[in-house]
C-alpha cells in the first residue's frame, strides 16, 4: 500500500523568490504527519503548494493520483481539505452558510445536515452563533469555524495550518481530541503545522522538520522526541 500523500522534490516560489528547495514528505494512510519549523521556514508555503495555490514544481501524488498540476478546486474535490493560515472565513456569510460552503463538493442534503449538527456538537459556540455574520466572530471562533468547515468536506486528507492559533488552552485540547477522533475513527490522514510542537507530536506519528525551505530531519515521532539535541535545538521543549 502506498502512502496517502507522497511528495518528492517539491519546490515553490513567490514570483522569483524561491522559498522551498526540493522537499520530500509523506503522509501515511490514516496517519498524521507533523511539519515543524521556525517562523518563515516555509510550512505555510508547503501547504499552499500542495493545494496548487502558488507556483511550484516537483511530484505530488495523492491517493494514487498525480495532483502536481491540478487546479486548487480539483484538489479539494479529490478530498483534500485545507485549514489555511488566516482562517479563510467567508466574512459576509453566516456561520451556517460557511459550513455549507465546506460541503459544496458533496451530494446528499441529509448527510450534509447531519454533519452540520456534528460540527455544532463539537463546537457548541458555533451553534450559538449559527445565524450570525461570520466576520463578527472572534478570532478563536473563526479558527473553530475554519476547522469545522474543513471537516464538512469529509476529506481523506486534512492540511492543518496552525489549527490551535488564537484558541484558549482548553479549546485547544478539545480541538485536538476532536482531530484525534476524526483521525482514528474515520481514518482521515492529516498533515499538521503547529507552533506548539509538543501538542502536534502527541497526535502525529511522523514528523518532518523544515528549515529555510529544506527538510532537515524526518522520522517517526518517537525518534524525534527521544532525540535530546533535536528537541532542545528545534522544538524548544
Amino acid at each position: 500500500m502506498t502512502a496517502l500523500l507522497n511528495v518528492t522534490k517539491l519546490s515553490a516560489s513567490y514570483g522569483d523568490f524561491r522559498v522551498l528547495h526540493g522537499i520530500d514528505l509523506t503522509v501515511e494512510r490514516g496517519g498524521v504527519t507533523a511539519l515543524l519549523g521556525a517562523n518563515g521556514a516555509g510550512k505555510t508555503t508547503t501547504l499552499r503548494a500542495l493545494c496548487g495555490m502558488i507556483k511550484h514544481s516537483g511530484d505530488v501524488v495523492f491517493d494514487g493520483v498525480d495532483i502536481a498540476r491540478c487546479a486548487t478546486e480539483d484538489i479539494a474535490r479529490l478530498g483534500i481539505a485545507h485549514v489555511p493560515e488566516g482562517r479563510g472565513t467567508f466574512i459576509a456569510l453566516t456561520v451556517e452558510e460557511n459550513l455549507r460552503c465546506g460541503a459544496m463538493t458533496r451530494k446528499g442534503r441529509a448527510s450534509i445536515d447531519d454533519d452540520i449538527e456534528r460540527a455544532y456538537h463539537w463546537f457548541p459556540r458555533l451553534k450559538e452563533r449559527c445565524g450570525q455574520q461570520a466576520g463578527t466572530l472572534s478570532g478563536g471562533e473563526q479558527q473553530m469555524l475554519a476547522v469545522a468547515r474543513a471537516l464538512m468536506l469529509r476529506p481523506k486528507l486534512m492540511l492543518l495550518d496552525e489549527p490551535s492559533f488564537g484558541l484558549a488552552p482548553i479549546i485547544v485540547s478539545e480541538l485536538f481530541s476532536i482531530l484525534r477522533k476524526v483521525n482514528e475513527q474515520e481514518g482521515v490522514g492529516m498533515l499538521i503545522v503547529e507552533q506548539n510542537a509538543a501538542l502536534a507530536l502527541e497526535l502525529a506519528r511522523q514528523a518532518f522538520l523544515i528549515e529555510t525551505g529544506r527538510i532537515l530531519i524526518s522520522g517517526s515521532v518517537t525518534e524525534i522526541r527521544d532525540n535530546e539535541s533535536i528537541r532542545a535545538a528545534y522544538l524548544g521543549y
Binding site: E73, F90, L93, C101, M104, G135
Partner: protein, 291 residues
C-alpha cells in the same frame, strides 16, 4: 393628488428597470470588483434580439424566454472569452476592456439594425387601469421586476449554486479550497446579469423606443441606484434603483427648472452627493472583519 399618484406609480415602474440594471451592475461588481460600463449595451443588444425575433413572427411568450436564454449565454461567453482571461489585471485594463465592449456592442447593433428609432410593442397591451391612473405597461413593468427580484433573492438565498456564487465572489481563495469552481461562478454571474439586463431592456423599450443608444441614460440611472443603495449590497441597490425612479419623476414634475430635460443630471448629482457624503451608499453594509 392624482398627478402625484401618477408620478409615483410611473416612478416606481421605471424605478424597477433601474433596480434591475443596478442589480446587474452590483452582481458583476461583487464578482470582479469592477463596474461594467457595457452593462447597458448588453441589455440594448438583447432588446434588439427580442425585437428581431418578434419581427420574424414569433409570439411574445416564446420571444421572452428565448431572449433571456440567448442573453444568458452571451453573458457567459463574454466572461469566458474577454473578462476571465483578464484575471487580476489592473483597474485601468478592466476599464479599457469595458469601454471596448461598449463600443463593439454599440457599433455591432448599429451595423446590424442601423440607427433608426423603432417603436417596440408592449407585451402588456396599450390600455390602462383605475381610470387612467396606471397603464398596463406600468403594471406589467412593476409585476415583472418584482417577480425577477424575488426569484433572484430566492436563488441566492436558498440554493447551493447561489451560495457558491456568493462565496466565490466574496473570497475566491477560500472558495477554491472548498472545491468551488470560481471561474464558472463568475461566468454564471455574468450570464445572470445579462439575463436580468435583457428583461430590463425589453420592459423599458416600449417607453424609450428602440435604438442603439437607448440604454445610455437607463444605465446612468442604474449606476445612481447602485451607488445610492451601496455597491456592496444587492438589496440596497434594488431599493436605490426604485428610489432613483421616484426621485427622477417627482423632481421632473414638481421642480419647474428641472422639467424633463434636466432629469438626467439629477442622476449624476445623486451619484456625486452620495459618493461624497456616504461612499458606502445609504444601505451599504459595512462588513465586519476582524484581523
Amino acid at each position: 393628488m392624482e398627478l402625484l399618484i401618477q408620478q409615483l406609480v410611473s416612478g416606481v415602474a421605471t424605478g424597477g428597470i433601474y433596480a434591475c440594471m443596478a442589480l446587474s451592475i452590483v452582481m458583476i461588481y461583487q464578482a470582479i470588483h469592477h463596474l461594467n460600463f457595457a452593462q447597458g449595451e448588453m441589455a440594448m443588444f438583447s432588446t434588439f434580439i427580442a425585437w428581431q425575433l418578434l419581427q420574424w413572427g414569433l409570439p411574445y411568450w416564446i420571444v421572452i424566454p428565448l431572449t433571456v436564454a440567448i442573453s444568458f449565454s452571451g453573458g457567459i461567453a463574454i466572461e469566458r472569452i474577454v473578462i476571465g482571461p483578464l484575471g487580476e489585471a489592473a483597474v485601468l485594463s478592466h476599464a479599457v476592456v469595458f469601454i471596448g465592449l461598449y463600443a463593439v456592442i454599440n457599433s455591432l447593433a448599429s451595423f446590424i439594425w442601423d440607427f433608426t428609432t423603432r417603436p417596440f410593442p408592449s407585451p402588456f397591451g396599450a390600455g390602462s387601469q383605475f381610470g387612467n391612473l396606471i397603464s398596463n405597461q406600468q403594471i406589467g413593468m412593476i409585476a415583472v421586476t418584482l417577480l425577477v427580484l424575488a426569484l433572484l433573492y430566492a436563488f441566492f438565498r436558498y440554493t447551493r449554486v447561489g451560495l457558491a456564487m456568493r462565496a466565490a465572489a466574496e473570497n475566491p481563495t477560500s472558495a477554491r479550497l472548498a472545491g468551488i469552481r470560481v471561474g464558472l461562478m463568475a461566468a454564471l454571474g455574468w450570464g445572470m446579469a445579462a439575463a436580468v439586463g435583457s428583461i430590463a431592456g425589453v420592459l423599458i423599450a416600449p417607453i424609450v423606443f428602440l435604438e442603439p443608444n437607448m440604454m445610455l441614460s437607463i444605465l446612468l440611472y442604474g449606476f445612481a441606484g447602485a451607488v445610492l443603495g451601496g455597491l456592496s449590497n444587492p438589496a440596497g441597490a434594488v431599493a436605490g434603483g426604485f428610489a432613483v425612479g421616484v426621485i427622477e419623476n417627482l423632481a421632473g414634475t414638481y421642480v419647474p427648472v428641472i422639467g424633463s430635460e434636466l432629469k438626467l443630471p439629477i442622476a449624476l448629482l445623486l451619484i456625486v452627493i452620495v459618493l461624497v457624503f456616504r461612499p458606502t451608499g445609504l444601505f451599504g453594509r459595512t462588513i465586519v472583519q476582524r484581523v
